[in-house]
C-alpha cells in the first residue's frame, strides 16, 4: 500500500478535479451576481479559443506564464520556493530596454533580439543572486527575501522610469517607444496560414522562445549532471552532502537560472507588445507562475498546459467582462483567484482522499482477483 497515486491520476485526474471544483465555486459566484454560469463559461471559452485573435491573445498571455512557471519550477526542483519571479521579471525588463534603447537605430531586430534575451536573463538572474546567496550562506528564507525583492524591484523600476528612462518632457512614466528594430516580430504569418490574422493580438516570436526554454529546462533537470545535483539537493539534502554536492553552489546556480527565466518573461510584453517599458507591465505574471508551476507539477509540459489555461482565463475573462457587464473586471480576477486557490494553494486538498480511494479500490480489486482465482 504505497501512499502514491498512479501517474495518470497525479498528472491529469487531480488537476481536472481541482479545476472542476474551482469552476463550480466560480459558477456559484456568477450565479450570485445574477448571471447564467453556463453562458458565462461559454463566453469565456469562446473569447479565448473561438477566433484567431482570441487564440493569439491566449497564447500571448500563456507565453508570460510559461516563462515565470519555468522559473518557479526550476527553483522548486531544488527545494527552493522562488516567490520573486515577479521582481526578477521587472528587473529583466531593464536588460531588454538596455539592448533595445541603445541599439534599435543601429542594428536589425535579429541582432537585438538575441542581445535582449541575454540582457533580460542576466538582469533577472542578478536580481535572484542576493536572495540566493543569503539563503545558501546565511539561511535567510528565500520566500521572505524574494518577496521583499519584489517590492524593491517595483521601486527600482519606478525610479528608473521616472528619473532615468523617461524621455525629457514626457508626462508618462515609461520609456520612449522602441524603433521597429527594437521589437520582436509578430506571428501574423502563422495565423495567416489558418486563414485569420492576429486581429491586433500581440503574439510574437517569444512564444517560440518560451517553448524552446521549456524544452531546455526539461533537458537541464533530467538530462544534465547539474540537474541531477539540483534535484538531489532539493529531494534529500543530506544525501546531497554525502554525495559531495556543494549546497551553496547548487542553490546559487539554481536561483540564477530561475531568475534568468523570470527575467526573460519581460521580452514578451516589453519588446513583443508595448515596445516600451510601462509600469506594471508584468500584470502579476510572476505570481501566476507559482500557480502554473504547481498545477503543472513542475514539469515543463505540464507548465505549458497550465500556462495556456491561465492564458485562457486572462483572455476569455476580458471578453466575459465585456459581454456581461454584471461581471466586472474584479469578478474575473476573483475567478482567476479561485483557480489559483484550488489548483495551486489547495493542490493537496483532494490528494489524501483520492489516495485513500485508490488504495481501497486497489485492495478490493486485489481481493476480487483472489476470489476469482
Amino acid at each position: 500500500m504505497k501512499n502514491e497515486l498512479p501517474k495518470w491520476a497525479d498528472y491529469i485526474l487531480l488537476p481536472v478535479i481541482n479545476l472542476t471544483v474551482a469552476f463550480i465555486v466560480a459558477g456559484m459566484v456568477v450565479l450570485m451576481v445574477g448571471e447564467n454560469p453556463l453562458e458565462a463559461a461559454y463566453i469565456l471559452v469562446r473569447g479565448a479559443f473561438g477566433y484567431g485573435g482570441g487564440i493569439a491573445y491566449t497564447m500571448y498571455y500563456a507565453t508570460n506564464f510559461i516563462f515565470t512557471g519555468l522559473s518557479v519550477a526550476v527553483a522548486f526542483h531544488c527545494g527552493l520556493f522562488n516567490i520573486g519571479s515577479e521582481g526578477q521579471a521587472i528587473i529583466g525588463a531593464l536588460g531588454v530596454a538596455l539592448a533595445a534603447l541603445t541599439l534599435d537605430h543601429l542594428m536589425p531586430w535579429w541582432v537585438i533580439f538575441p542581445l535582449a534575451i541575454v540582457g533580460s536573463a542576466l538582469f533577472g538572474a542578478a536580481w535572484a543572486l542576493i536572495p540566493a546567496w543569503l539563503q545558501a550562506k546565511r539561511g535567510s528564507h528565500i520566500v521572505i527575501t524574494t518577496i521583499m525583492f519584489n517590492f524593491i524591484a517595483s521601486s527600482v523600476m519606478v525610479y528608473a522610469l521616472v528619473e532615468v528612462l523617461k524621455p525629457a518632457g514626457s508626462m508618462a512614466p515609461q520609456t520612449r517607444t522602441f524603433e521597429q528594430a527594437g521589437q520582436i516580430p509578430k506571428l501574423d504569418w502563422l495565423f495567416e496560414v489558418f486563414g485569420s490574422g492576429l486581429q491586433g493580438a500581440p503574439l510574437n516570436l517569444s512564444f517560440f522562445l518560451a517553448l524552446i526554454m521549456a524544452f531546455l529546462v526539461w533537458v537541464l533537470i533530467w538530462r544534465t549532471r547539474f540537474g541531477y545535483e539540483l534535484r538531489t539537493t532539493g529531494t534529500n539534502p543530506t544525501a546531497a552532502v554525502y554525495a559531495g554536492i556543494p549546497p551553496v553552489r547548487t542553490i546559487v546556480i539554481t536561483m540564477l537560472i530561475s531568475g534568468g527565466l523570470a527575467g526573460m518573461m519581460a521580452l514578451n510584453p516589453v519588446m513583443g507588445d508595448q515596445a516600451r517599458i510601462e509600469l506594471d507591465f508584468t500584470a502579476g505574471a510572476g505570481f501566476v507562475g507559482i500557480a502554473v508551476a504547481l498545477m503543472g507539477r513542475s514539469h515543463p509540459l505540464g507548465i505549458i498546459f497550465a500556462a495556456i489555461l491561465f492564458g485562457m482565463l486572462y483572455q476569455g475573462g476580458a471578453e466575459l467582462s465585456f459581454d456581461m457587464p454584471n461581471i466586472s473586471r474584479d469578478m474575473i480576477i476573483a475567478i482567476q483567484g479561485l483557480v489559483i486557490l484550488f489548483a495551486g494553494a489547495l493542490e493537496h486538498m483532494f490528494r489524501p482522499s483520492l489516495i485513500r480511494l485508490f488504495s481501497r479500490f486497489g485492495r478490493s480489486s486485489d481481493a476480487s482477483l483472489a476470489e476469482a482465482a
Binding site: T224, R231, A243, I245
Partner: protein
C-alpha cells in the same frame, strides 16, 4: 497525592501494544508493567522503539492494537490532553519551552486558568513555590528561559508536568544534554519525587544511568520488549547483551587476513556536534589493506560521527587522517566528492536519509556521489544509456530485485536498497571502504550475501572499516575489533574476543588487565 491503598494496581499497565509506520513495525506486542512509586528504566538502542512506546502513552501516536491501564483503569489516550488528565506528564528530549517567556509564563502556558491572567498567575505562583519546595526544584520563577542553562530548563519542564498534576513522569533521554554533575542532581530530584509517591519512567540508552537510579528496568530491542528485570538483580553485562541481542547470523567462512600496507590512518581525531558536545574524543587507529576493522559499541557512542568525519561529510575539530599514505586536508578542501575520487567509498548507516534519494529511480541512485564520473557524464550531460547499462549490470551482479533500473528506490525492500548502495560503493574499486550498519533492516538471505561481499572486498586488498551495533556481525567479520564508548576507543580485541568481553567494553567497563585475550 500517591494513594497508598491502591498499591496493588500498577501505575501503568500496557498489554499487547503494537504500532507500525508503513512497513516498519516500531512496537511489536509490547507488555509493560510499571509499579507505583518506582523509577522504571526503559533501555534500548536508538530506534528500538522506546520513544514510540512513550509517545503512545502520551497520546502523540495511536497504537494499532493493545490496551493501556492507568492505576488499574483501562483508558484511551487520544491526545496529550487526555494523557495529562490521566496524570501523565512527559519531559521531551528536546525541550518544549518558549525561549523568551519567563519560567512562570512557560509553566502556566496552556493552563492559564481563565481569560484574566492576573488571578491565574497569583495562584500559579503559590503552587509553583510549593512544588519547588517539596521537590527541591530550585528555579527562579521570573527568570527568562533563554537565560537558564539546560539543566535548569529541564527542571522547568519537570515543574510544568507537576503543575499539571502529573503522578507519572516520563523522561525521554533526560541526560543527553546534561553535564555529569547536572545529571547527578537530576537523579537526586528523581529520588525526591519517588519518595513523594510519584512514578517515573526513564528512557535512556545509557546503562550507567539505569544502574545508578532505577528500581526496575525493561529492555527493548527492535520494537520488542525483550526483558524486564529488577535493577538490583541484574548487571550491565547482561543488559548490554540484551540490548544488542543476537541476530540469526551464520558464521561466515573466511581465510586468515593478510594485512598489507597502511591504507587508512586516523590520528587523534576529535569531532564535535552542532551543540559543541565532543562526540569523538581523540581517536586513533590504523587499517591496513586486506583487513576488516570492526567498531563495536552501543549506538550513539560516536561511531556515526567518526564515519562522517572520515568520509568528509563533517569537519573534525582536530586530528589528521591519512588515506593511502597521503594526508586528507580535513579542515579545508576535503569533501566527500574529492575523497571518493581518492578511493574512499562509504556505505552510510542510514540509507534512507543519506545513502539514497528514495524518490529517485534505482539507476539515478546508482550514480549518487559518482555523478561527475566520466563513465556517467560527458561534459554537462548525463549519459543516460551508460547509466542504465551500468545499473543493469549491478542489478545482475548483486541480484537486486525487482530488476528494474527505472523503479523508485523507495519501492525496493530494505535488503535490496542496501544492495543498491553496496553495489555502487563496492564496484568502484575503492582503496578504503567505510561500511555502517551493513545489515540493518535487511532480511536474512541478503545478510549472508552482504557479508560474503564484504569478505571478498577484504580478500581483494581493500581496507574495510565496519561499524555495526550487531555484535555477532562484528565478531564474524572483523579481523580486529575496536570498541567505542562515550566517543573514545576503550579497547581493541582480536577475532577471538568473546561476546561477554566485548559486551563489558561496550558498557564502558575497561578490564583489559583482566581479559588477556589479545591476538
Amino acid at each position: 497525592m500517591a494513594d497508598q491503598s491502591s498499591k496493588m494496581a500498577p501505575a501503568i499497565e500496557l498489554s499487547g501494544i503494537s504500532k507500525s509506520f508503513g512497513p516498519v513495525q516500531a512496537n511489536k506486542d509490547i507488555d509493560l508493567v510499571v509499579e507505583k512509586g518506582t523509577i522504571h528504566g526503559i533501555i534500548g538502542e536508538n530506534g528500538a522503539g522506546k520513544s514510540t512506546l512513550m509517545s503512545i502513552l502520551y497520546g502523540f501516536y495511536h497504537a494499532d492494537s493493545g490496551t493501556i491501564r492507568i492505576n488499574g483503569k483501562e483508558i484511551k489516550i487520544p491526545d496529550s490532553q487526555a494523557a495529562i488528565a490521566a496524570g501523565i506528564g512527559m519531559v521531551h528530549q528536546h525541550f518544549m519551552l518558549v525561549q523568551n517567556f519567563s519560567v512562570l509564563e512557560n509553566v502556566i502556558l496552556g493552563a492559564e486558568g481563565g481569560a484574566i491572567l492576573n488571578q491565574g498567575i497569583a495562584l500559579a505562583k503559590a503552587e509553583l513555590q510549593r512544588l519547588e519546595d517539596d521537590y527541591a526544584l530550585d528555579v527562579d520563577i521570573d527568570a527568562l528561559i533563554e537565560d537558564l542553562p539546560v539543566g535548569l530548563q529541564q527542571r522547568v519542564e519537570i515543574l510544568k508536568a507537576l503543575f499539571r498534576g502529573a503522578d507519572i513522569l516520563i523522561l525521554d533521554e533526560p541526560t543527553g544534554v546534561l553535564t555529569p554533575a547536572e545529571a547527578d542532581h537530576l537523579f537526586r530530584i528523581f529520588e525526591q519525587l519517588r519518595d513523594q509517591g510519584k512514578t517515573i519512567i526513564l528512557i535512556t540508552h545509557k546503562l550507567r544511568e539505569i544502574m545508578a537510579i532505577t528500581d526496575d528496568v525493561s529492555v527493548m530491542r527492535r520494537g520488542e520488549m525483550v526483558a524486564t528485570r529488577k535493577t538490583a538483580e541484574t548487571n550491565v553485562e547482561e543488559l548490554a547483551k540484551l540490548m544488542v541481542g543476537r541476530s540469526v547470523l551464520l558464521r561466515v567462512d573466511k581465510k586468515q587476513a593478510t594485512p598489507g600496507d597502511e591504507k587508512l590512518v586516523v590520528k587523534n581525531l576529535t569531532v564535535k556536534d552542532d551543540r559543541g558536545v565532543v562526540m569523538v574524543d581523540d581517536v586513533s587507529f590504523t587499517i591496513r589493506a586486506g583487513e576488516i576493522v570492526g567498531i563495536a559499541g552501543v549506538a550513539g557512542n560516536g561511531q556515526s560521527e567518526l564515519m562522517e568525519a572520515i568520509s568528509g561529510i563533517t569537519k573534525p575539530e582536530s586530528g589528521t587522517i591519512l588515506l593511502d599514505g597521503k594526508p586528507i586536508d580535513v579542515n579545508g578542501s576535503a569533501d566527500p566528492a574529492i575523497l571518493r575520487e581518492r578511493g574512499m567509498a562509504h556505505v552510510p548507516e542510514d540509507r534512507h536519509h543519506v545513502g539514497l534519494v528514495l524518490p529517485f529511480a534505482e539507476k539515478e541512485n546508482s550514480i549518487l556521489g559518482y555523478q561527475g564520473d566520466s563513465a556517467y557524464t560527458s561534459g554537462l550531460f548525463l549519459q543516460m544509456d551508460a547509466i542504465e547499462a551500468d545499473a543493469k549490470e549491478k542489478i545482475d551482479q548483486y541480484d537486486i530485485r525487482p530488476p528494474d533500473p527505472g523503479l523508485k528506490a523507495g519501492n525496493f525492500s530494505g535488503g535490496n536498497q542496501q544492495k543498491i548502495v553496496l553495489s555502487r560503493e563496492m564496484e568502484r574499486d575503492p582503496v578504503v571502504l567505510l561500511i555502517g550498519q551493513p545489515t540493518r533492516g535487511v532480511d536474512v538471505g541478503a545478510i549472508e550475501f552482504i557479508h560474503r561481499r564484504i569478505i571478498e572486498m577484504r580478500d581483494s586488498g581493500k581496507a574495510v572499516l565496519l561499524v555495526s551495533v550487531e555484535l555477532d556481525e562484528i565478531r564474524s567479520l572483523a579481523d580486529r575489533t575496536l570498541v567505542m564508548f562515550a566517543g573514545k576507543i576503550v579497547g581493541e580485541r582480536g577475532p577471538d574476543a568473546s561476546e561477554g568481553e566485548l559486551g563489558l567494553l561496550m558498557a564502558g567497563i575497561n578490564d583489559s588487565e583482566k581479559a588477556g585475550v589479545e591476538a
